[in-house]
Symmetry: C2
Amino acid sequence: MLSKNQIKEIQSLQLKKFRDSGKLFIAEGIKTVCEIIDQRPEALKEIFATRDFIESHSEKIGSLRVTEASETDLKKISLQNTPNHVLSVCHYFDETPPVFDFKSNFSLYLDDVRDPGNLGTIIRLAGWFGLSTIFCSPASCDFYNPKVIQSTMGAFLRVNVVYTGLPELLAQIPGVPVYGAVLNGKSLYAEKPGNGLIIIGNEANGISEANLELVSNPITIPAGGQNNTESLNAAIATSIIVSEFFRQLKL
Amino acid sequence: MLSKNQIKEIQSLQLKKFRDSGKLFIAEGIKTVCEIIDQRPEALKEIFATRDFIESHSEKIGSLRVTEASETDLKKISLQNTPNHVLSVCHYFDETPPVFDFKSNFSLYLDDVRDPGNLGTIIRLAGWFGLSTIFCSPASCDFYNPKVIQSTMGAFLRVNVVYTGLPELLAQIPGVPVYGAVLNGKSLYAEKPGNGLIIIGNEANGISEANLELVSNPITIPAGGQNNTESLNAAIATSIIVSEFFRQLKL
């Protein structure tokens, strides 16, 4: 049974200011919580779970702090539409210094990507293609936003997301080519990619003017239709570019 | 000013059974409604818009049926978080016979893709790469779901989405190769693609067992990381496959 105060505290973590003040975030769902227990148990502050979950996972839970919660309580603290069996409150991860492995890999810089679903999906994509660190502009969506965590499907545990201005980042990696996803660049498929940084712009406005000046290789995904004025979703464009870089550089 | 009844009727279109009974759906936002006016004005039943929108678009609106709505009313009928200036109620499109252009192009078959954001994003992707018709299993998400319409960003006006069983579809296109996105197929990048049908499975369960038997060429997006157990989002996987088919077949 959760107290009103507990419920209120957990619900408050939907907002960045409350996450930041306690350095706490929410991660929920059986698969996700089990992955945290396996991979980053030190991050767990507390687990809230149904009796069923607790009984069927007692070995895995071990000495971790668990509070039994009714399905009604879980509905109150969960962000999911369908009832979850378990929700965890976790400490922010220790800041891991970025790995600059541009000798053997490429990476992403998200320039004000704002939609949590897009950021989470891109982190999941990065996990799939083995990008260990990706970078975000300071005004990009918050990594600890519950919708981001949810849509990474566990990849938030394995991909290091570093918030930094682009000029500061580039100062640390001199000579690395800077690709930018734009509407009037060289065809992605014609470009011979190198191990560089790929800039993905904001959903509505693309790459900011200031950062566009730092792009050495503007690239575009060619459209195939006639009279198509559509754009592509930011996460979709990212996935197409990452896949093509991966194919050319890693296979 | 909208009557309570009007508001209720429009809100009811969020549910498939009410859409189907009146053969009506919602499409909202300035860009989308302007595209409908330009490309499919015959589909418009009624437009609900702020006075501002009506005054600034009077020429475009012409003799179309428009009702002035307050921002409060629009909030009630809109599905968006941020207030919209215009919402339209449209008639279902006339069923367009599928174009089987497998001599010059490839296409997609979505096998129970359920998430409206995924379906909408895939339609948008199809529009970008010039796929004029895509196919969905009967249990896939409804094309006229407002979240689908919204996330196509206008591509619902240009891509024909046909609901059909896979065996029935294949009976009409004998000899066309059937690719399937699976976890243990041939590498997407190693496959030499042909103008065929690409099957994308359900978000949680992949391609159904029955349909899997109809796949002639199972393909997989190779993962790049170590010990990665992640999967890819269905729309992301689709975009990577479509991009690679496009690159090899059309460029």
